[in-house]
């Protein structure tokens, strides 16, 4: 079973980038909501009292604190949509791309202790784990292994 990412990579930069907000709320529903610019973006304010680059807004009366985030270096942000999950040959089509988005927390200044920030560390850890090991380093380590065994015997 496989899912094809059915879009032409060369088309990626053709569309205008999408505007994304990462909201600290569980919204039960998908699809068009409203004019986000008019009813949400219009109310975004800079809040230097919380720190450099911190923004404020509100959702249904709940205070939001946010900041502009970039997609991690070496990555592209893509929004993909499944055509029909019941198909045998599943396909994901490209809805749009983005390089930045606004990260929002519920009433908490965005900081390094946010789960999302800590998750990004995993990208670097995964890279370190995927680093190939050279033949020489491996032989060296095995020699040390043998020596240690002899010493302990």
């Amino acid at each position: 079973m496989s899912i094809t990412l059915d879009f032409d990579v060369q088309q990626l930069d053709n569309k205008r980038p999408m505007h994304l907000h990462y909201l600290p709320a569980k919204i039960v529903g998908d699809g068009e909501c409203t004019d986000v610019d008019k009813h949400f973006n219009n109310y975004t304010r800079q809040a230097p009292e919380f720190g450099n680059g911190v923004l404020t807004n509100a959702l249904r009366g709940y205070p939001l604190l946010g900041q502009q985030e970039s997609v991690p270096k070496g990555y592209k942000g893509l929004v993909l949509q499944e055509t029909d999950p019941n198909q045998a040959e599943r396909q994901l089509r490209l809805t749009g791309t983005f390089q930045n988005f606004t990260y929002w927390n519920y009433d908490k200044v965005p900081s390094k202790s946010d789960g999302y920030q800590q998750a990004l560390v995993m990208l670097d850890v995964a890279e370190a784990l995927a680093e190939p090991v050279s033949e020489e380093a491996l032989e060296e380590e095995m020699k040390l292994q043998k020596q240690a065994k002899k010493e302990n015997a």
């Binding site: 079973m1 569980k26 409203t34 990555y75 942000g77 999302y116 995964a126 784990l129």
Partner: protein, 340 residues
């Protein structure tokens, strides 16, 4: 009204609801895809999401592949109560799907250990009994010869190549990988100790030198991270090979070193090396005395005396002490159940 969000629900369409117009409501997902998967050489070739057996999870997991040679892991980052706003649409799926680099050799390890431990086999014959084509596809397309060489003995006979799993080589290879992870954890200043530490506070210079950044904590976390890709028993083997004491042992060690630090307060940092050595000895002898290590000498024979030594006469192991401590304040279970 808002539904209560639970850990494992995805919003499912109500089967009795009137059919919704499908147009914009198909579920969207937000992805971070690595640039090197997006190099357009051949416009017709598409990236695919495929399932391969994931040794750490014990079941197939999703991976992203391209050009029948590139493979990356598909990680799903999710927090409770998150959604995306995409231009003028809401997206209930608040997760972020990220492609992360992966050494496919880690996936191959499971199959090598399972089939090639006793004798050398070719890649095609390993996957002969597999339930689907994914094993063969993984081994022939995405695992590299260089990678296999690190964990197996390679024998060539004419055109055919045979591989036999080599446990010592694998442990050495995993050790080098683990050290790479330790380096990154240190560079990123990831807190690996046993307590919780906020990332928001700036640590003073003085404290940094006193709280000897515990090498073993980094090693343990790195080993556990590598272990997420390994069969459970191989992870245990690696933990033992790297001589990582269990967390209870570390707790006991930390307590004894904290007491030592208190008494050494005010002394110049030149003594810090001595303190570390003293800790090291304590840890080693404690480890030996506890029953956590398998003793290699035959003195600790498997046959046990007919009657067990009463607890008061034996010294308790760290585990037993910890459990006994946990028992304080609980009622006695014998008071609930009467002897038959």
């Amino acid at each position: 009204m808002n539904k209560k969000a639970t850990r494992s629900t995805k919003p499912k369409p109500d089967p009795d609801a009137a059919p919704q117009k499908q147009a914009v409501c198909a579920v969207k997902k937000v992805f971070f895809i690595a640039d090197n998967l997006l190099q357009a050489e051949d416009g017709a070739d598409r990236m695919r999401l495929e399932r391969f057996y994931h040794p750490g999870k014990g079941q197939p997991a999703w991976f992203i592949t391209h050009h029948d040679c590139q493979i990356m892991e598909m990680l799903e980052y999710g927090e409770p109560r998150r959604s995306w706003l995409l231009n003028n649409e809401v997206c209930s799926n608040g997760r972020t799907y990220m492609t992360t680099p992966l050494d496919a050799t880690l996936l191959a390890l499971h199959h090598l250990r399972k089939h090639c431990s006793q004798r050398a086999m070719s890649l095609d014959s390993i996957s002969v009994d597999a339930s689907d084509a994914s094993t063969n596809r993984l081994l022939t397309k995405f695992v590299t010869a260089a990678g296999l060489k690190c964990v197996a003995d390679v024998k060539a006979s004419g055109d055919l190549v045979f591989y036999k799993y080599n446990p010592q080589r694998t442990l050495a290879w995993l050790t080098l990988k683990t050290r790479g992870v330790v380096a990154v954890l240190k560079a990123k200043q990831v807190h690996c100790g046993l307590g919780a530490k906020s990332q928001n506070y700036v640590r003073s210079e003085k404290l940094v030198s006193e709280n000897d950044v515990n090498e073993m904590d980094y090693l343990r976390m790195a080993c556990d991270y590598v272990g997420r890709y390994l069969d459970a028993d191989l992870h245990e083997e690696l933990t033992r090979y790297l001589q990582i004491p269990s967390e209870i042992q570390a707790l006991v060690e930390e307590k004894s070193s904290a007491q030592k630090r208190k008494s050494q307060q005010g002394q110049p940092s030149a003594n810090s090396k001595k303190i570390k050595l003293a800790n090291g000895e304590d840890a080693a002898s404690q480890l030996r005395n506890s029953s956590l290590l398998d003793s290699d000498d035959g003195k600790d024979s498997i046959t046990s005396p007919p009657t067990p030594a009463p607890l008061k006469e034996r010294t308790m192991t760290a585990k037993e002490k910890a459990l006994a401590k946990g028992a304080k304040g609980s009622k006695s279970i014998a008071s609930f159940f009467k002897a038959k």
